[in-house]
Amino acid sequence: MEKLIQMIDIRKEYKMGDETVYANDGITLDIDKGEFVAIVGKSGSGKSTLMNIIGALDVPTSGTYLLGGKNVGKLSDNQLADIRNKMIGFVFQQYNLLPRMSIMENVELPLLYAHVSARERERRAMEALEKVGLSEKAKQMPKQLSGGQQQRVSIARALAANPSLILADEPTGALDSKTSRQVLDFFKKIHEDGNTVIMITHDNSIAVEAKRVIRIADGKINFDGSSEDYAAII
């Protein structure tokens, strides 16, 4: 399998007053194209820091992070923005749709920043909305949609730019169990379509829905294996 993510001894330090906190303390992992991975950990474990680094929102203090062969650790702000734009599709816990824009415009946003032409933007946004079954809501505003629908819109937005990686941060955290299930089914479907999906969660019952589980504690990986193996130890 082709490697999408290669992390070698990633460390991230924060200065908290006089103390130095090691949020990530030597993380080494590989993720292949087409995998469905859950990164699980308690709050404060360092999983959010890891997500930020994977998502090119932050750079590690030391270590090497290759995303699709590119060394992300050495890039400038604008280059990171381009990486996020072209390679990563984010799905957030709070959906993070822009409230003053229509569903369609929200989904078009990453394409806008990629300088895709208006007509092409519309076509691709519509295609992404069709995938999540919300094409008939395109003209509506985020407020008019339920939480589950909004999260599906944000998945459509993540898919629109056709990124190499879908990165979901607690995607079901704000949803009830029934809608959570639907959203998880969407991720499974996306994965079956050939997308690489990484899901960050604190919830073991969500984590086991993935194919592979990586558990973080105290800034280190303390489990990395199939979800069946993970289910066995919890």
């Binding site: 984010f90 822009l98 920043y113």
Partner: protein, 392 residues
């Protein structure tokens, strides 16, 4: 770019009240600049115009005459005749104080003066009825008088009826030989431009008991040589009046240029005062933009996470500030353009919106949008996406 404009307009519409309050400062500032400068310029132009009507090519000579040293009318005439290449007209001006009376009707406000036969031409007067004074009137000290439209109307009812009538000035009887066309088209009033009477200077001298006029008005053949004419007059008067401050020569063009300097200074000061309100408006724009950035931190975080580069965010906020200030500035200009002529009308003068004031205040308001919008925009652009996303 186009997208940023659309976004800016959307954001302005979404926050109608806030946007309007931001613009209000600019609207007031810009319209204040336009109105103040326009009305000021209108007023000053009006003043200059009335000076011009008196004749831009005239030179006023004031003399302090002593029994021992003075210039006689003949000396002044000789000087005038020697320099006909420079001067086109000349008149002594003898002020006669007193009342103008016909029967029991009298007018105390009328300006009565003794002048030469050139006076009508010098003042650019046209006749309604009759004739101006003539050279022979001067020689023979005729008791004739030319009156203004207001005087004719007040004392005789009409210019036609005034002709050939007897008028009493300080007890002496004068015959009305001419009535000057109405000068002030707007109003006829006491002490106005039509409330005057003039007689031969020789007659006036007799009436006053002195034969030496204190004032002369010269007209040059054109406005360009007025400096040369002033010099000539000064040189001539120096030969008669040895003391420096016993004669005074001033050309209308000198006065006009002095007025123009004052005028420029005044409008600059007024413009600067009004400009301060524009600056305050700018601080308002910055304040609102900062609030807008803080309020939309999360939005900025989302946009950055989705791949918006720094420049894109910067552009979005700068354009928003720019659009806000441009709309505010435009409304201010429209308001200024409506209010300025209205104030002018009320004040009885013409004060159209001053083009320079419009251009300058508009540019300043756009510049304010740029400058004061830039700082908040920079702040938005340099937000860390992680922190921005975390904010509520």
């Amino acid at each position: 770019m186009l997208q940023s404009f659309k976004l800016a307009i959307k954001s302005i519409i979404a926050n109608k009240m806030r946007s309007f309050l931001t613009m209000l400062g600019l609207i007031i500032g810009v319209s204040a600049v336009v109105i103040l400068v326009s009305v000021m310029m209108g007023y000053l132009n009006n003043m200059v115009k009335s000076f011009m009507e008196m004749g831009a090519n005239t030179i006023t000579v004031s003399l302090v005459n002593m029994p021992a040293r003075h210039a006689s009318v003949d000396q002044m005439y000789d000087f005038f005749n020697e320099n006909r290449d420079v001067f086109s007209e000349m008149t002594p001006q003898v002020n006669v104080s007193g009342t103008v009376k016909v029967g029991t009707t009298k007018s105390t406000t009328t300006t009565v003066s003794g002048v030469s036969e050139y006076y009508g031409k010098l003042k650019n007067y046209k006749l309604e009825k009759g004739r101006f004074l003539s050279y022979s009137d001067m020689i023979s000290r005729q008791k004739v008088v030319v009156i203004g439209y207001y005087v004719a109307l007040k004392l005789f009812g009409s210019p036609k009826e005034a002709m050939g009538q007897i008028i009493k000035i300080n007890g002496s009887a004068f015959t009305v030989v001419g009535v000057v066309e109405r000068q002030d088209k707007k109003q006829l009033s006491a002490r106005g431009n039509d409330d005057f009477a003039f007689m031969p200077y020789s007659t006036a001298g007799q009436l006053n008991g002195t034969s030496v006029p204190d004032n002369y008005i010269f007209a040059t053949v054109n406005t360009k040589i007025s400096d040369k004419a002033v010099k000539l007059l000064n040189e001539f008067l120096k030969t008669i009046y040895t003391q420096k401050d016993t004669f005074f020569v001033q050309s209308m063009s000198q006065m006009l240029s002095e007025i123009n300097v004052q005028m420029a200074l005044m409008s600059t000061i007024i413009g600067a005062i009004a400009g301060i309100s524009l600056l305050v408006a700018g601080v308002g724009v910055m304040n609102i933009m900062l609030v807008s950035v803080t309020e939309r931190t999360r939005e900025i975080g989302i946009r950055k996470a989705l791949g918006a580069r720094r420049g894109v965010i910067l552009q979005q906020f700068v354009i928003e500030a720019l659009v806000t200030s441009t709309i505010g500035g435009s409304i201010g200009i429209v308001l200024g353009c409506i209010v300025s002529p209205t104030i002018g009308n009320i004040m009885g003068m013409s004060s159209p919106a001053n083009f320079n004031a419009v251009i300058i205040s508009f540019s300043v308001s756009v510049a304010i949008g740029l400058i004061f919008g830039y700082m908040p925009a920079m702040r938005a652009a340099s937000l860390n996406p992680i922190d921005a996303l975390r904010s509520e």
